[in-house]
């Protein structure tokens, strides 16, 4: 299913689908969704351009929020922050942007580009830089394919801006996170300027349309996880993702996370209801990264590990995962892009500090 526009009626599905693809990260998209709906109601639907249809010389920039999801529970988003960031980027680079791209199809960041594009009458490219959520700039497909993150502009809630010109992506990530922390914990950034020709080989294609389809399925088939697996498998089999499988069902008997090196690091342990099988351990580093049972890797990053409510199949992000919750754990093969050597160098379990090789889900 290819969409040509994104409208108000797609927002509930896009939010839900992108929480699923966020694999535990990305934050709560509730308010960004309401704001995007408003923007779409005011300015009309946003045009969605398929990756193949992009002009080779189109000026494209990626847009999204950087910071602590917890902060946005109190420091609420504003309807103009995405479009103002875009304008500040254009002013800084003295060049008009033609098309807006997404950092990640995960949580609120799948909605910000649409909010920005609506206010400015610009199209959005149907795709994103992760196909899921990941914590750092160098893990984006754009960076892996060789795009420089800068020139970049970041804007805080009050309209203060900072521009960046850095030597490499790791330095950029460090600097922009410092700005986010000192500007209230959550900022919006426009970064990774790219041409249409470049992004065609540096993006996960079709992921916005796919997230909407996925969200629709989750709404229509809302119910016990055992019943939703089959329709999910059918949907994923026709996508850029690999196969989808139900790894485990049970209840969360332990969950603890600590902040280590700027990440939210920890694990969750899930025991099955009948206590027949060994418990499932999920390693968390902002997102769900590894699912192991008796030290055997069942699924590992960059494949997607998704925790959903046992009764409703609603995806649960890591912040909300709590002791006592009854859940199902699903795994989905990542897009082929992330299985290349260059990509695995920055997104495999080893890139996150685990002494484990990536075990592809097959």
């Amino acid at each position: 299913m290819i969409l040509n526009t994104i409208g108000v009626e797609d927002m509930d599905a896009l939010s839900l689908g992108s929480v699923f693809l966020a694999t535990g990260g990305g934050g709560d998209p509730y308010l960004p969704m309401l704001l995007t709906k408003q923007a779409l109601e005011t300015f009309g639907p946003v045009r969605l351009i398929q990756v193949d249809d992009l002009d080779d010389d189109a000026n494209i920039v990626a847009l999204g929020a950087v910071g602590a999801p917890t902060v946005s529970l109190e420091l609420l988003p504003s309807i103009d922050e995405a479009s103002e960031t875009l304008t500040a980027f254009e002013t800084h680079t003295q060049k008009a942007v033609d098309v807006v791209a997404s950092f990640e199809v995960g949580g609120g960041n799948s909605l910000l580009p649409i909010m920005a594009a609506a206010g400015r009458g610009l199209p959005v490219v149907d795709g994103d830089g992760m196909g899921r959520a990941l914590p750092e700039a160098q893990m984006m497909t754009y960076a892996i394919a060789g795009a420089k993150p800068t020139p970049a502009v970041a804007r805080d809630y009050a309209g203060n801006t900072a521009s960046f010109n850095t030597s490499d992506t790791a330095t950029y990530e460090r600097h922009i996170r410092a700005f986010a922390m000192s500007a209230g914990g959550m900022i919006t950034a426009a970064e990774h300027p790219m041409t249409g020709a470049f992004i065609k080989q540096a993006i996960i294609p079709g992921s916005l349309s796919f997230a909407i389809q996925l969200g629709r399925l989750l709404m229509e088939k809302r119910g016990p996880v055992a019943q939703i697996v089959e329709p999910l498998q059918a949907l994923f089999s026709g996508s850029v993702y690999g196969r989808c499988e139900l790894l485990f069902t049970g209840k969360v008997v332990d969950k603890s996370t600590r902040i280590t090196g700027g990440y939210d690091v920890g694990s969750a342990i899930i025991e099955d209801f009948d206590n027949i099988h060994a418990p499932l351990n999920i390693a968390i580093k902002n997102e769900y990264l590894l699912a192991t049972q008796n030290d055997k890797v069942l699924a590992s990053v960059p494949d997607l590990i998704v925790v959903v409510d046992y009764d409703t199949s609603e995806p649960i992000n890591a912040e909300r995962l709590k002791f006592g919750q009854r859940v199902g754990v699903l795994a989905v093969g990542c897009p082929a892009f992330y299985r290349t050597e260059a990509a695995l160098k920055v997104v495999s379990p080893r890139a996150f500090g685990f002494d484990i090789d990536y075990v592809p889900l097959d």
């Binding site: 704001l35 609420l76 504003s78 309807i79 009050a158 209230g184 008997v253 709590k322 009854r326």
Partner: protein, 522 residues
């Protein structure tokens, strides 16, 4: 002695307790005016117990669904001015964002946003502008709005902007009643603000409810204090209820869990409250209900009230049984049980018919003429137990065997032990467990704040939050000497600079009014 009353949608349950002894109890239909039903229930309690007069009653505790129902049915809600100090953040999502139209209309759409609030690290989000506040106050005066909800960003950490707005507002308009968001809920500005708005909208109704209850007690010659139960299993005095009526939401399931605890003395257990249509399974942890971690929807409005984690299964006394006994519920004849069930001469095979045929209970004029095959009865009994066992297993905190307490009118459906339970407990008076829960409730206090352990040190930071929680409990009527810490929760906040921790403290204590009287023990 204490009187406990639980006002539900259908039934009003009442119980008279002397320490841990139940002197009398009854179950009556809830009346439209609620109050006359309460008066009748208490009269009957006193009559049945043979008490000469009511002088020995120390307190009356009431759990009521009236405030929840007011929100759900959009009744009794008054216009509210909702003021948020958080600009320049949150442009485009002002107060009432995401509310269903009918309830937004019911509270009016008097929404104000202005500069103010804090950031996570204690820096100012924006300076409060007095001229903005005065403009809002003038508008409220002109619209003659009587109830106001005020919120500001990170007010759980620093509520100065909310307090400042309130002081300025009440200086200009002394009669206006105010709910501040930091008194209502935890982290999550929108949800906390929603809770404050709902609360403000219920303030005049709370006055009417409280004075109706007080009149009822007066009518009965009861001079003792009266308390209302709140969602965390603790009590509020009447002054507190008049300020925070929204804290009564979901007190019903909480009271049933607490009642099960008091009836058995088991601190860690699963409680299955079997009614007519569903079995509500909840978890007792250290004698209190385990809370749900989800965003709680009240009448279509997102809030972050702390609610007991209750899992409903479609199995009750009216649940319909398939012809082979393999399928039970979730369809139920509900209150039509007394005409549709086979034991009452109807044509529908219900779980109650099965229980009667199995000899668990003797009710209904047709109990002996049903002639249900033994194999069907046995199969249906197995299906019921399997259904409960499966759902109990899902709610268990861990794989360790745990006792299961059966309460509610439908508890007669289950005989013998449940496979999922280490022990199946059926306390006496299980049918009025919720009224007992109301009667034995304590007074609680809670505080939550984001603390920097780096600048304060962990211990002093914990002390700050503890003393705030104790202050809240004392304000709610707890005896200061009896207060104990129930729970301390420390959560490091993701991405933030190392040592910022969200600290939440819960305390409980005995009621001030009863501190001299005998303590109720199970």
């Amino acid at each position: 002695m204490r009187i406990g009353i639980d006002v539900g949608g259908t039934h009003t349950d009442a119980v008279l307790l002397d320490a841990s002894t139940v002197l009398s109890s009854n179950k009556t239909l809830t009346t439209a005016d609620v109050t006359s039903g309460i008066v009748n229930a208490i009269k009957k309690l006193l009559e049945d117990s043979g008490l000469e007069d009511s002088h020995g009653i120390d307190a009356v505790m009431i759990g009521t669904t009236q405030f929840t129902n007011a929100v759900v049915e959009r009744r009794e809600l008054c216009p509210v001015a909702a003021i948020r100090l958080a600009l320049p953040s949150g442009k485009g999502c002002p107060p009432l964002t995401g509310w269903p139209d009918d309830i937004a209309d019911a509270v009016g759409r008097h929404v104000y946003t202005c500069h103010g609030g804090f950031l996570y690290d204690g820096n100012t989000l924006a300076k409060v502008k007095l001229e903005e506040l005065d403009k809002i106050i003038a508008d409220i005066q002109q619209r003659q709005i009587q109830c106001v909800a005020i919120s500001s960003a990170f007010s759980t950490m620093d509520a100065t902007p909310e307090k400042m707005m309130k002081a300025r507002l009440q200086k200009a308009l002394p009669h206006v009643r105010v709910t501040l968001s930091h008194e209502m809920g935890s982290l999550g500005l929108l949800e906390r603000e929603n809770a404050a708005i709902l609360n403000a909208a219920l303030l005049p109704f709370a006055d009417r409810v409280v004075s109706a209850f007080q009149q009822a007690l007066q009518q009965l010659g009861l001079r003792c204090p009266m308390f209302i139960s709140q969602n965390d299993g603790t009590l509020m005095n009447t002054d507190f209820v008049k300020r925070f009526p929204a804290l009564t939401f979901a007190s019903g399931p909480t009271n049933s869990l607490r009642g099960a605890y008091k009836l058995t003395g088991i601190e860690n257990a699963l409680v299955v409250d079997i009614g007519g249509t569903t079995s509500d399974i909840g978890v007792l942890q250290n004698g209190f209900p385990r809370e749900s971690g989800q965003v709680v929807d009240i009448g279509g409005v997102r809030t972050n009230f702390r609610m007991p984690d209750v899992h409903a299964v479609g199995l009750g006394g009216g649940s319909i049984v398939s012809a082979d006994g393999n399928q039970i519920g979730p369809q139920s004849c509900g209150h039509k049980l007394v005409s549709e069930a086979r034991v009452f001469g109807g044509n529908t095979l219900t779980t109650t018919d099965i229980a009667v045929a199995a000899g668990y209970v003797a009710i209904g004029p047709h109990a002996h003429s049903m002639a249900l095959p033994d194999s069907l009865v046995q199969q249906a009994l197995n299906t019921m137990k399997a259904l409960l066992d499966r759902n109990i297993d899902m709610m268990k905190p861990n794989a360790k065997p745990v006792p299961v307490i059966l309460v509610g009118g439908g508890a007669i459906l289950v005989n013998g032990d449940l496979a999922s339970a280490s022990e199946t407990v059926r306390p006496e008076y299980a049918g009025v467990a919720n009224a007992i829960g109301a009667a034995i409730a304590q007074v609680g206090g809670e505080a939550e704040s984001l603390m920097s352990y780096r600048s304060l040190g962990r211990e002093p930071a914990l002390e700050q939050v503890k003393s705030l929680a104790i202050k809240h409990a004392c304000n709610a009527g707890a005896c200061p000497d009896s207060i104990r810490i129930l729970d301390i929760e420390e959560t490091e906040v993701p991405y933030m600079d190392g040592e910022v921790t969200r600290v939440r403290v819960k305390v409980v204590g005995e009621l001030n009014a009863l501190s001299g009287s005998r303590e109720v023990t199970a």
